[in-house]
């Protein structure tokens, strides 16, 4: 390479690096403002370099369920149940790796799920919106979802919530931290909407029960 080209390349590299630094500073400032130190916790997560194995395995699961159960409603319920089982165990790992202190209210919980939780497991962030007046219901909006790459719903499965496992995961995870919730799908990209929207409604906060009686 000639020296002119070399200097051009290094200049480009420097510009790119400057841009990256600026982005990092902006993100860092936002992170600081929001009070979550989530950038560092993501270093402890083992990443699968390619989400396709994950996507295809999930597709195989849904296909197996459809063949076995045949009824779309049954499949939805089974996916939700599987998600619940996952969520119950997932929350342990999440709390261990993310180092977040306990959330003050449901608003903070929803933010943590959307920004840290989804990023830690699925590699995508969601956004929170549509809070109701009491602060007990909100919507999690996902624009990018690794579960639905390459997927199209056929005509005979139109009632299927393909990503229903996600609603089960959130429900299970929140139940383990003493919040009973109801999670439903408002918008689904596979049905023609432009994003995935999950509505999370806090039903009640169950205080932790001491499992042993005092006298015995």
């Amino acid at each position: 390479m000639t020296t002119a080209k070399q200097s051009q390349v290094t200049k480009n590299a420097r510009t790119v690096r400057m841009q990256w630094l600026m982005d990092e500073i902006v993100t860092g400032f936002e992170v600081y403002r929001s009070g979550f130190r989530f950038q560092s916790c993501l270093d402890f997560v083992f990443w699968l370099k390619n989400a396709e194995l994950f996507t295809l395995t999930y597709g195989a699961i849904v296909r197996q369920l459809l063949t076995d159960l045949e009824e779309v409603e049954e499949v939805n319920k089974q996916l939700d149940q599987m998600g619940y089982n996952i969520g119950v165990r997932l929350v342990d790992e999440f709390l261990e790796k993310s180092n977040v202190s306990s959330c003050v209210d449901f608003k903070e919980t929803a933010e943590v799920i959307a920004k840290v939780g989804f990023k830690m497991f699925l590699g995508v962030t969601a956004s929170v919106s549509n809070w109701d007046s009491e602060g007990t219901t909100c919507s999690l909006i996902l624009e990018d979802n690794p579960l639905v790459d390459f997927v199209e719903l056929p005509d005979n499965c139109q009632g299927l919530y393909y990503c229903n496992i996600l609603s089960g995961v959130i429900r299970g995870a929140l139940e383990m931290v003493s919040m009973k919730t109801e999670v439903t799908w408002l918008r689904d990209m596979l049905r023609g909407d432009d994003v995935f929207e999950l509505q999370v409604k806090l039903l009640k906060q169950v205080p932790e029960e001491y499992p042993y009686k005092d006298d015995e």
């Binding site: 989400a51 194995l53 395995t57 597709g59 197996q64 996952i86 199209e152 496992i165």
Partner: protein, 194 residues
Amino acid sequence: MIGVGKIKQYTNVLDRPIGKGKQEVSLSAFAFLFSELVQYNQTQVDNIAELERRLEDAGYAVGARVLELLCHREKGNRRETRLLGILSFIHSTVWKVLFGKVADSLEKGTEHEDEYMISEKELLVNRFISIPKDMGAFNCGAFVAGIVRGVLDNSGFPAVVTAHFVPVDGQHRPRTTILIKFAEEVLQREARLG
């Protein structure tokens, strides 16, 4: 990020760009999903052979799709017609894309002409799974065996693929070997092609 445009909505899924395969998910997400798959299948069957068969069938579907995806993306739509070609495709490309590394080894069986083995010190799917004593020889690698069978079958190399544990001296956990036994017609075709 501020100002990122929304992804264009394609009406037909076949028109959407395939993507470079750079999206990442966490290993634990996959491990949880796989454990649910195994647990669900355990409720549906009575014995181990059935369970392995169901896992293999699930893997077969994955393998068929992986082959299509990789042929288009990595190999520019060229097919493998030779035995060694398809085996090295599985051993390096498929393994690299699915598990992030090439398989540990590819060997030819000494006793039979039609047997080949792909070995892995610790299969990704087996990493977080412990087999209780009463399940004996059950191996969750049956899922990966299914993937390999899916790729081979759909490339025109019918074979019987199974997963086995092979204890290794000096190592606490046994090695996993995927045993591939090709059908007669594959060997005859190989011999004809010279």
